[in-house]
Structures are given as structure tokens and as C-alpha cells.
Symmetry: C2
DNA sequence: ATGAAAGCGCTAACAT
DNA sequence: ATGTTAGCGCTTTCAT
């Protein structure tokens, strides 16, 4: 790897000081038009480019937007569609400034691994940090990112960090609304298929479910709550085990797996039929999308819409146009199933790893 | 943004020199177990992390794997599935070392934009560089990346850079094979739907097509070659215009759009029927996948398989286990259509932007 | 409008 | 095993 030209090589060639070259390279004032032009052509001729690390060290900004995830990659419900969308959105919003997009690929915390998903912030590689994916209960990294003082946005909220910068969906309200819907239609034993065990968004779901039951003075029955843990359990098995609970007449599927074939398979195996006799509310990330046309209602969880608004606000914060932190929380939308198009099962990162 | 601890703060606290702390942080030899342990606990207690830029400047490696694309983002045929796969693969292969993954989001070359897709290499942000997407004809950036001397891999080959590090598919051979297949079945006027106009992989297709025609002494007829340019033209329109060429009895669709509904729509509009009377070879990225069951044959273009091998070789090069550059070129596979499953139209980045 | 000097935080090279 | 020195390439600060 050959030695590269430095700013001094350009300066010498142009017969000026390094600082003058620096000004030209950074489009700063204080150089005559003539000198500027001359230096520019030398820069191009000599193929000079400033050293990213040196510049970051001195100027204290790196031109990097970091993207990071709290859970292990194998657990993050990152779909190809979402990733592609995230790319498109981030490049739309940040590419004006020619930013780099940096993803942290740290191996997940082993016993002696003191690294964490905030690494890019601590190491001052990121100017801006986007945290995607659910947050573990009692997470301590996000508060530290918050304290670091850089523009950041988490796509999951966290108990105890109300002042944190987040753009998320109110999962508690969604679970409440879904459960209430079935309660109001007369159901009393309602199974709840949750997701994200041990994560904030999982807890929020349970809170909403409990709250709805409390409205009707129905005691909580733990056997009616199961979690879908991708990689560890199969969706079919979990749904079957819920459908087989005695006396159950309704189901809230908040797993957002959007996997209709698994649901149908589970129903068959459990000898149940989705429809008027067994009412279901199914969650989806897609507006006007029906995961299962036999479902009684669908709940749209507008995660992407919240993320979109949040990322735009984050960009304004980063550019100084606006103050942080960002506070966005979208409500869910409960809809019946007419005129909906079928959603196909998304390919998720954990399916590949 | 508060001032962060430096290696000197740790050194002072521990009563040792900065260099000793550096050794501990980098797990290098030359520190007694006792001292090491003491320093480690201080590092954790004080929340110290080395400054990424400073470390890069001094040590000349950044722990970043760069991913970059020659064409404008709006043109790159990056599908959600491929992106997701790329993520999974890169993190499998590079995350052991806790690398960062950096994408370049430079706005595309305007008149005065001298930046280019090698920026992360010139700025010495990347230790390793992966170039995805097709390469423009006469591209000059890849040779410069090659000359820079870092481990890199291009997923497209380039005329005149035979010694370049590539993992690609032989599109010329694929086009030859596809066209020959139809010629051997008696067709003499064969329309060719190409892709990547102005890019190397597009030129290679045409070369293969021409070569097959030459075998039969059929003169090249430009009106039988059309390009599909996503964003600029609709697939349906292009296919219709090809099907309407007089005397055409066969079609090679090398667009890899994998969009069966568009093809069917085009056939209807042109008053043609895919089948024995109008024979077709359609290209796909998926093994054993049928884009169109009515097609006479499918050509599998194993881009992902080549990429997989290439990335693994790149990682070995980067780790020093093996010498570069990488030279991988896969052949295409022509198959008939039995036992194939239908492929669904992938969501591509250019659909979103 | 331009230059000189200092120093960002780290690690290579060379002492001890 | 540990410390000292120098310097990576840049930009800030201050001078001219």
C-alpha cells in the first residue's frame, strides 16, 4: 500500500501553506478565487483526498451516520423490505452531505466482551446514531448514548428514559385496543400471542393486554400468554399451544410475523377455524394489509411511518436546523378486513443467519 | 458534548504510561497480568474507549469494511433479499473481528462533484472494499482501487482489468448459451432483451448474443436488441416493442427483472403467446426458479453464489490467510422448466427511490 | 488573504 | 515489563 499524498504535498506543490489547502478542500472562505482554482486543479491532478481519521480527530466530526441494534443480529426482526426502505430513506435524508452509513457488526456480548451496541458512539465514529430494533428491558446503553450528547434516535422506547429521542409505536395502546375489541364482542378467555420476550416492546404489549382485562375484572391467566421467539420456537407450535388452551374463544396475535400460512397450519392442527366462531385480531406492519382474511380485525402498527418521521427529525437535529431530542409516538390503527390485500411473509434476517 | 476520557486519563489514574494502557486496550503482550487486570478495571470504570479516528490515523487501519456502488443508487438493482443476504454474509464473515460496515452515500456525480465511489478508499476509511452493482463501461475508479493495494472485491468485472479482484458471472457465456439454444431449435430471428445499458455486464450480454448469431452467419439486426432501463422505461413497453418486431419467433430476456406479470401483460398487448410457437429463454438469479412457466428454458445466473465465494475469499485476503486478488467467475446454468417453483417479483431499491 | 504553531488521541519505534 | 519520544494528517488558534 503506497504512501498517499498529504495536505503538505499539495501545499508544497502549490507554494502555499497547508492551511490554505485545507480551506480550499473544505470550501471555506479566506482564499482568493485565483489561488483556490489553482489549488483545486493541483488537488485533482495529484489525486489528493483528506484522511478520514485525521480529519475526524481534529475536527471532531466524522461524517458518519451510525446504525446499530441492541439485540443480537439473529434476533432482530429486520426484514429485507425494511432494510431496503431504511437505505433509501437514509440516503435520501443524509446523502446531501455525502455522509457514510456505518453499521456495527460487533459480535454479540459474550462473557468477557465489554463492547456494546453504542461502540460507534463511544469511539466517536458516529456523528449521528440510529438505534433500530427492540430494546432489552433495563438496557443501559441507550441512556449513555443519550448522555453522550450527539443527535440520535431510537426506534424503540425505553422505560425510565422518557426524555430519550424516540420514534416508535404505542404497543401498549395497540394491545389494549386489540384485547378490548375482543372483550367488547363478548369474549372472556382471550389468548395473547406476544413477541419480544425480555424486550421493552414485549412488556408494553403485556401491559396493554392486562389493562384491557382489568376493565372487565378478568384475572390474568399466564397460560393464555405465549411468546414467539424466532429461532427458538416455531410459530406454528406456539399458536397451536395457545389454541389448545381450554375455553379460549379469541386470540390477539401481536407477533407481527405476517405469516398467514403458519397461522392456518396451526389452526388445522389445533382443530380450530378462524372466523366468526373463533375471533382474532392480527397485527401487521403494513397499512391496509390483511395477514389473514378470516381474521375479525387487523391492527396496523405503523412502525415504518414513525421511523420515517423520526429519521427526518433526526436529520434536522443533526444539521442544526432543529433542536433534539425527537419525540414521536404513533398510535396503532384497528381496521376490519374488507378491501385489504394479502401480505406475503417477509424474509427476515433471522431466517438467513 | 462533554469531553471524553483519553488514554492519558487512564494512564494517570493507573499510574502507568499511555503506552501500557494502549497495550492493554489492544490485547498486546508486554504487560504483567496484574497490571493488565488493574488497568482493565479502570478502563471499564471510567468508560474509556479509544478514539476511532486517532487510532486509524496512527495504526493505519480502521476496522471498516466498505461497501460501495458505481452506478447511482437509483439504478442499482439492489433487491431487499440481496441486501439482507449481503448483511448476513458480511456479518458472518467479518464480525469476528468486530468490524464496522460502511456504506458510501455520496450524492451522485454532478458537474462539479469530483467525488466518486472509491471515496472511502482514498480517504482511508475502509480497510477492505466491496464493490457491488454493475460497472460503467470505461470505469476508471476500479483500477484506482486496485492500485491502492487494499483487499477489495468487485462483484462486476471490467474490460481491461483482468488482474482485478472480481467474483462475477460470465454474462457473455450466458447470452451465447441462451441464444444458441434458440438457434439450435431452428429460430433465426431472435429478439434480445438486455439490461445495464452502458455497463460492462450489458456489453458482455451483447457480445454473447452476437457470437451465437455469428455461428449461424446471421447478421446483427439492431432493432432486435432493446435495453430495459429501470426508472426510465417500463418493462412492459420494452417487451411489447420487441415482440412486435416482424418475423421474431424467439426471445432471450436477460433483464433479470423476474417480473412474470409484466411479461404476460406484454405478450397480451402484443398479441403473442409464450409457448411452443414463441420460444423464450428467461434469466433469473434464483436456482431452480421459473419466472414464467410458459418459457422454453430458464438461465440461472448465479450472482449470489459467486458473491458468496468471493466474499469468503476477500475475508481470507483481508485477514492475511491468503493472497489477493480474488478471481472467481461462475458459469450460467440453462435448465428446462419442469419442477421449478415460481419466483415472485423482488422489491428493488430503484422501486423505492 | 495567508501563514506558523500547536495539538487532537493514539501507537510505532526505540529506549530502559 | 514498562516508559519516552515522535509523529500519523489534519484543522484550530492566533498571528501577520
Amino acid at each position: 500500500m503506497k504512501r498517499r499524498n498529504t495536505i503538505y504535498d499539495i501545499a508544497r506543490e502549490a507554494g502555499v501553506s497547508a492551511k490554505t489547502v485545507s480551506k480550499v478542500v473544505n470550501n471555506k472562505a479566506g482564499v482568493s478565487a485565483e489561488t483556490r482554482l489553482r489549488i483545486q486543479s493541483i488537488v485533482i491532478a495529484m489525486g489528493y483526498h483528506p484522511h478520514h481519521g485525521a480529519r475526524t480527530l481534529r475536527s471532531r466530526h466524522s461524517n458518519c451516520v451510525g446504525v446499530t441494534m441492541a439485540p443480537p443480529l439473529e434476533t432482530v426482526p429486520l426484514s429485507g423490505d425494511f432494510l431496503l426502505w431504511l437505505f433509501a430513506k437514509l440516503s435520501e435524508v443524509f446523502s446531501v452531505q455525502g455522509a457514510y452509513l456505518a453499521f456495527d457488526m460487533t459480535p454479540r456480548p459474550g462473557e468477557e466482551n465489554t463492547d456494546d451496541y453504542g461502540r460507534g458512539v463511544w469511539e466517536q465514529l458516529y456523528d449521528v446514531c440510529l438505534v433500530v430494533g427492540p430494546l432489552p428491558l433495563g438496557d443501559t446503553v441507550l441512556p449513555r448514548i443519550h448522555a453522550a450528547g450527539i443527535p440520535y434516535l431510537s426506534l424503540g422506547r425505553l422505560d425510565g428514559l422518557d426524555e430519550g429521542s424516540t420514534a416508535s409505536v404505542d404497543f401498549r395502546e395497540g394491545a389494549y385496543k386489540s384485547t378490548r375489541f375482543l372483550l367488547d364482542r363478548g369474549h372472556r378467555r382471550i389468548a395473547f400471542l406476544s413477541a419480544f420476550e425480555g424486550y421493552q416492546s414485549g412488556l408494553d404489549r403485556i401491559r396493554g393486554y392486562e389493562q384491557a382485562l382489568r376493565d372487565f375484572d378478568i384475572p390474568l391467566d399466564d397460560t393464555l400468554i405465549h411468546y414467539f421467539n424466532p429461532g427458538r420456537s416455531s410459530l406454528v407450535d406456539v399458536v397451536v399451544s395457545l389454541l389448545e388452551q381450554p375455553g379460549v374463544t379469541g386470540l390477539v396475535d401481536s407477533s407481527v410475523s405476517e405469516d398467514s400460512s403458519a397461522l392456518r397450519q396451526a389452526a388445522t392442527r389445533a382443530g380450530r377455524t378462524f372466523g366468526p366462531e373463533f375471533e382474532t385480531v392480527i397485527w401487521t406492519y403494513m397499512k391496509d394489509a390483511a395477514v389473514l382474511s378470516e381474521a375479525t380485525a387487523h391492527l396496523w402498527v405503523p412502525v415504518r411511518e414513525a421511523a420515517m418521521e423520526g429519521i427526518e427529525a433526526l436529520a434536522r437535529w443533526a444539521s442544526g436546523d432543529e433542536e433534539g431530542p425527537v419525540h414521536i409516538q404513533h398510535k396503532t390503527i384497528l381496521t376490519d378486513v374488507e378491501h385489504h390485500f394479502a401480505v406475503r411473509k417477509p424474509k427476515r434476517l433471522y431466517d438467513l443467519l
